[in-house]
């Protein structure tokens, strides 16, 4: 049967209705249950604290009760449970009756550092850790450099500035999944535009996604493209808050452009740039989507970073106990880095004192 756009839409809706009504019947009662439960919890907490214990803090604890309970039950408890899983031999074979014990845990942690994380021999912790560092440094470096350049250009008197800004933000506005899957197509050796363009220039394009090193370059390119707008917008905001007089004063004192950049722009951008780079590092380090959607860690596991190796180990190979131990190792690495960085930059101070 032939459809036009209108009849196609009607047909689509008709197809969707049965499943949709089934899922709505499931989701709406739960919504009401959550609302009623929250109200009940708040009333209970308030009466116990205010009437029973006469606490000064009855109201804040009441206001916090539903979110605290939710976070503890579905975020706090899983984190504790994760430690439990790390000390077990949980995998697909014993999905319903795993055994727990100190021996299993020590074994899991030992395996993280001594045995390959995935199938191939080259996927050891050391190799993947090194690749993650390279991935993070390369991405954040290019994000900052390109964004700084673009922000400096945009921070001048230009007639089309608004248009440029809007167009430059586009990569950030497209959903992750679309970006990942689109770039996967664009790096296709025959039909992707990257190689078609290279062919126009007379260059034979590399087999992007079937060669390990090229695939790593490809995911880096895609992720750099995706991440520039965020950094650019943050830096531009910082630049616009710097008064022009600083540069005029520096110019009168005979400072070269590099000296002005180094001694005026950078220090005054510090309060904006510091947190943005911290966030950028954490996000890049944890960026499962960019890797998983474009290469799934392949070819032959050569583009895995720590988080994608974790995802593949835990769910691709269903090694839950091992995966949980591995997750703790990753978290400790990130926590040490972020904690050290925040302490050094003093960003945490204002946060808890305010």
């Amino acid at each position: 049967m032939d459809y036009n756009l209108w009849t196609a839409l009607l047909q689509g809706i008709r197809n969707a209705l049965p499943s949709l009504s089934a899922s709505l019947r499931e989701i709406i009662p739960v919504l009401f249950l959550i609302i009623a439960g929250s109200v009940f919890l708040e009333l209970a907490v308030y009466f116990v604290l205010a009437k029973g214990l006469k606490s000064r803090y009855a109201l804040p604890y009441t206001l916090l009760a539903p979110s605290a309970l939710g976070l503890l039950a579905f975020l706090g408890w899983p984190l504790i449970f994760n430690v439990g899983i790390a000390f077990s031999n949980w995998r697909l074979a014993n999905l319903l009756n795993p055994s727990f014990g100190l021996k299993y845990g020590l074994d899991n942690f030992r395996k993280v550092f001594t045995e390959p994380l995935l199938n191939t021999k080259a996927s050891t912790f050391g190799v993947i850790f090194g690749r993650t560092m390279l991935w993070t440094v390369v991405n954040v470096f290019f994000h900052v450099v390109f964004s700084m350049g673009l922000a400096l250009l945009l921070n001048r008197k230009l007639r089309l500035r608004g248009l440029y800004r809007t167009l430059l933000v586009v990569p950030w506005a497209i959903p992750d999944v679309v970006v990942g899957l689109v770039w996967k197509g664009e790096f296709h050796q025959q039909f992707g535009f990257v190689n078609l363009m290279l062919a126009k220039l007379g260059i034979v394009g590399p087999p992007w996604l079937s060669d390990g090193s090229w695939a790593f370059v490809a995911v880096c390119i895609a992720n750099i493209w995706r991440g520039i707008p965020f950094m650019m917008v943050i830096i531009l905001g910082g630049l616009q808050s710097i008064a022009g007089e600083y540069f005029e004063a520096a110019e009168i004192d005979g400072a070269s452009w590099w000296q002005q950049f180094r001694h005026v722009t950078i220090p005054l951008l510090q309060p904006v740039l510091g947190p943005a780079i911290t966030l950028g590092v954490i996000w890049t380090f944890n960026n499962l989507n960019a890797i998983f959607l474009i290469t799934e860690g392949g070819p032959s596991e050569q583009t895995n970073i720590l988080v994608s190796a974790l995802y593949n180990a835990a769910f691709g190979f269903s090694k839950f106990g091992f995966g949980a131990a591995f997750a703790i190792v990753i978290f400790v690495i990130l926590f040490i880095f972020a904690g050290g960085w925040l302490r050094a930059s003093g960003a945490l101070k204002g946060v808890t004192e305010a």
Binding site: N4, L5, A8, Q11, G12, N15, A16, V30, Y57, L59, L63, L64, P66, S67, A68, G70, L71, F74, L75, L79, N82, I85, R156, L160, L168, V169, W172, I174, P175, V177, V178, L181, V182, K184, G185, E186, F191, F193, K200, P229, V233, I234, G237, G244, E248, A249, A250, E251, W257, A276, N286, F292, L310, A314, F315, A324, A327, F331, V351, A354
Partner: protein
């Protein structure tokens, strides 16, 4: 910083710095700057435009020339087939149902929780704030493994509730941070005045603080909405039933048969992206001010 600016004003010096030209750039410099920016814009937008061109044509024609934007044989066939034959409408509705619930519940929980963090120095506040911040560093896998196993035991695999729960608890910590930062900027005097006039604390919160915080509330709603709307790795593990696919799963499934479905897959990408793109560009200013709220304060 404000004091220095005020002092510098009366001097009225106009020197042209490399980074700051009081009278604008010379025509040649303008040309160079504009050329560089146009090039950057092309690089930023081209991949998106390319997907649009591919969505318009049959597989073999639109793919050959990377510079054709609208192929000569442009048709809407891909779109029609996608909507009528594939479950595209269902995916969108599923995503919408989950996302709206997550954004609404997340907003209600974080709006009240953030108020407690902003106005009272109760015992447990500091550890609470540090816990909320620490959750931002947790790799997804570390929560996903226990959550997956818990949901498996509870029989909630292939149910929206499990997915919505997972999304909500990951959205709340960041929302509380942003809202707390915003509430901190609302002067306490306003509530005190209202309470002298006979409001209770909660009435003051409801009638004064919340309306004044509309921009921040909008940011949080939008942010959580977009986050849940585009989420993939968690959904990929929890939902395997085709009737429950969200659009991210549907798109991934279309791409599974890449060679043949390339045009339809591009059409789906376009249809998904356009509303999100418009919403994002429209709200970009607020989103950004929300993101930087906590970090540049004070």
């Amino acid at each position: 910083m404000k004091a220095t600016i005020a002092k510098a004003q009366p001097r009225r010096v106009r020197a042209n710095s490399f980074f700051y030209r009081a009278r604008g750039d010379s025509p040649f410099a303008l040309l160079v700057i504009n050329l560089m920016l146009v090039l950057a814009c092309v690089v930023a937008v081209y991949p998106a435009v390319r997907v649009f061109s591919i969505s318009l044509g049959p597989f073999n024609q639109s793919l050959i020339d990377p510079f054709t934007i609208v192929p000569a044989s442009a048709t809407a066939a891909n779109y029609i087939q996608l909507i009528a034959k594939k479950g595209f409408v269902l995916w969108l509705c599923n995503s919408l149902a989950i996302t709206v619930s997550v954004a609404l519940i997340g907003l209600a929980l974080s709006a009240t929780g953030a108020y407690a963090f902003s106005r009272w120095k109760f015992p447990g506040r500091r550890p609470g704030l540090i816990f909320l911040m620490a959750t931002q560093m947790i790799p997804a896998g570390m929560v996903l493994i226990p959550v997956y196993l818990m949901l498996a035991k509870l029989g909630m695999i292939n149910h929206f509730n499990g997915l919505a729960l997972a999304y909500t608890v990951t959205a709340v910590p960041f929302s509380i941070w942003i809202l707390k930062g915003y509430y901190d900027t609302v002067p306490l005097d306003l509530e005190e005045a209202a309470m002298i006039d006979g409001c209770s604390r909660l009435q003051a919160f409801w009638r004064i603080v919340l309306p004044l915080s509309t921009p921040a509330l909008a940011i949080v709603f939008l942010f959580n909405f977009m986050q849940a709307w585009s989420e993939f790795p968690v959904a990929y593990r929890i939902i395997t039933n085709k009737n429950l696919y969200t659009w991210t799963l549907g798109l991934k499934a279309l791409q599974g048969q890449f060679q043949t479905e390339w045009g339809m897959y591009a059409a789906a990408s376009v249809l998904i992206t356009i509303p999100v793109l418009l919403l994002f560009l429209y709200s970009a200013k607020w989103l950004i001010s929300g993101l930087t709220l906590g970090s540049v304060k004070g």
